[in-house]
Amino acid sequence: MDLRELYQDVILDHNRNPQNFGKPDASNRQADGHNPLCGDKITVYLTVEGDRVVDLHFDGVGCAISTASASLMTESLKGRSIGQIEELFEVFHQLVMGNADVMFDGPDLGKLVAFQGVSEYPMRVKCATLCWHTLNAAIESKQDTVTTE
């Protein structure tokens, strides 16, 4: 498999210029995530109104896959309901695990489809999903550090 299928342009762009990066002035839920295997650390900040996540930000350090995944995640989920987010995470998870056929009957992943190549690199799946697990913890307001190990 060609490396460019993993490092697609949209992933490289978001790695170089991550969106919604940095601690926001205001947020009402947050959680920390940590992948001790590679040292990736992330904090996800949410503004939740009712059952809707109206704003998302993140900061931390990570590899290109992990940074781009967090950037695209925050960009894709703004304004969505918690139910929609749960559905999308499920589909995203299946995508990076290599079960691509679910894409056709789940919600539209949009730009997140760029992470399909991760499924060819099982060791990197956790890089792509750390931000999502951390997001889940933030939604549930678990204040403990989330880990993907």
Binding site: M1, L3, R4, L6, Y7, L12, N15, R16, P36, L37, C38, G39, D40, K41, V61, G62, C63, A64, I65, S66, Y121, M123, R124, C127
Partner: protein, 414 residues
């Protein structure tokens, strides 16, 4: 007649590579370049064949039966013990205990010595560059006994601060356990000096030799330490087998580690008496095949010659260090004056895991992460490194492949 002192004859690396079947394959469409030798080395045919030979001709349990195969298996097993004794120049083969690897050897000493001898207020000294396996067993035993763990600090370039170590040594120091060669930085520590200083303070010394025995000649009597541990699989031998060497008096002072068969002399429900060295520390049926094949590995390394291996690896480290430093995005981690065959580095704007994946796409295997030395990473303020580590079969061409792979990282990530 006088024999002229001269540099060792260079290795015929092409011929050596022919002895390692695994090297002759493509990975992701490119010839495999295996540079993860500090994690585990590949195995020569001599070792693979010995394993097969053991299972196809003499497999039986050791030290038990009176039948012929059992005798042959026992002879092969004990012959390997003698081979290890000779490799380490130990005084007596009863000082050689077979374990699963370096981690188990350290756990054995932490448990056997620590639990029976340590009291609240006693101190154990380790160093800032220890592998987790030379940190956690001591933390566990300190927690149980009330002893305290002290840590020798290191410089930015990865050298231990001996004057700080001297200050840590007190009458409360019971044991000093340090790594001979660092797995994440390549530093070769001044273990003779460290040992002498500890003994002066009345403390025992354990050396973690996991990254030493495959690169440097080790003479435990000359080093002067009390315990020395290594793993077979980093020395061209099989996984799952390792060695704890201990000075006889030091071993005899230790409580048994695991209970079971082999380690006992008599058992009744009221009382058990323990076997003599080395068997009292070898409960259960050991990894007989692993032990037998470890002897093949030691024979193989000795036949090639550690001095020639060391000279070859030093050339590769020197060549890799120089070649990589032409890439201005590369920063080398660990620049101690005395180093062994490890080149650790980070890159501007490229996480080590991305480096690892991109190198893998070129068929190059390196290790990325914290290398089980998280305190080293914290000390240097980095999350992880990429690490190339060399063995006898690596070549300058492979270093060139590594360097172009590293250049490609910048290309891919932009």
């Amino acid at each position: 007649m006088t024999i002229a002192q001269s540099a060792p004859a260079p290795l015929d690396v092409d011929a050596i590579r022919q002895e390692f079947p695994i090297l002759h394959q493509d990975v992701r469409g490119k010839p495999l370049v295996y540079l993860d030798n500090a994690a585990t080395t590949q195995k020569p045919l001599a070792v693979i064949d010995r394993l097969t030979e053991y299972y196809t001709t003499i497999n039986a349990n050791v030290h038990r039966g009176v039948h012929t195969l059992s005798q042959k298996a026992t002879d092969a097993f004990e012959s390997a013990r003698e081979a290890v004794r000779s490799y380490l120049n130990a005084a007596d083969d009863r000082e050689v205990i077979f374990v699963r690897g370096t981690s188990e050897a350290i756990n054995l000493v932490a448990h056997g010595y620590g639990r029976s001898r340590l009291e609240p207020g006693d101190e154990i000294i380790i160093s800032a560059m220890e592998h987790h396996s030379n940190i956690v067993p001591w933390q566990m035993v300190c927690e149980e006994t009330g002893a305290k763990l002290r840590v020798i600090p290191m410089t930015d370039s990865g050298e231990l601060l001996l004057e700080e170590y001297a200050r840590l040594l007190t009458p409360r120091t019971r044991l000093v356990s340090v790594v001979y060669v660092s797995n994440s930085l390549g530093t070769v520590n001044p273990v003779r000096e460290i040992t002498a200083m500890a003994h002066q303070a009345g403390a025992l010394v354990m050396l973690d030799g996991a990254q030493a025995v495959q690169h440097l000649p080790v003479d435990v009597q000359e080093l002067g330490c009390d315990f020395f541990a290594f793993s077979g699989h980093k020395l061209y031998g099989p996984t799952g087998i390792g060695v704890l060497w201990g000075r006889q008096e030091a071993l005899e002072e230790m409580a048994p580690y695991q209970g079971g068969g082999e380690m006992i002399r008599t058992v009744t429900f009221e009382k058990t008496t323990y076997n003599d060295l080395p068997h009292r520390f070898e409960a259960g049926t050991p990894d007989i095949a692993g032990v037998v094949a470890l002897e093949a590995a030691l024979e193989w390394v000795s036949a090639v010659g550690l001095d020639r291996i060391a000279a070859h690896e030093a050339d590769l480290v020197e060549y890799a260090t120089t070649s990589l430093s032409f890439n201005r995005r590369v920063q080398l981690i660990g620049e101690a004056k005395e180093r062994s065959s490890v080149v650790s580095f980070v890159m501007e704007a490229a996480h080590p895991h991305d480096i690892g994946t991109i190198l893998d796409s070129e068929g190059i295997a390196v290790r990325t992460g914290h290398h089980c030395t998280q305190p080293v990473m914290d000390r240097l303020g980095i999350a992880a490194t990429a690490r190339a580590s060399f063995a006898v079969y690596n070549t300058r061409d492979e270093v060139d492949a590594l360097v172009s792979g590293v250049n490609k990282v910048a290309e891919v990530l932009g």
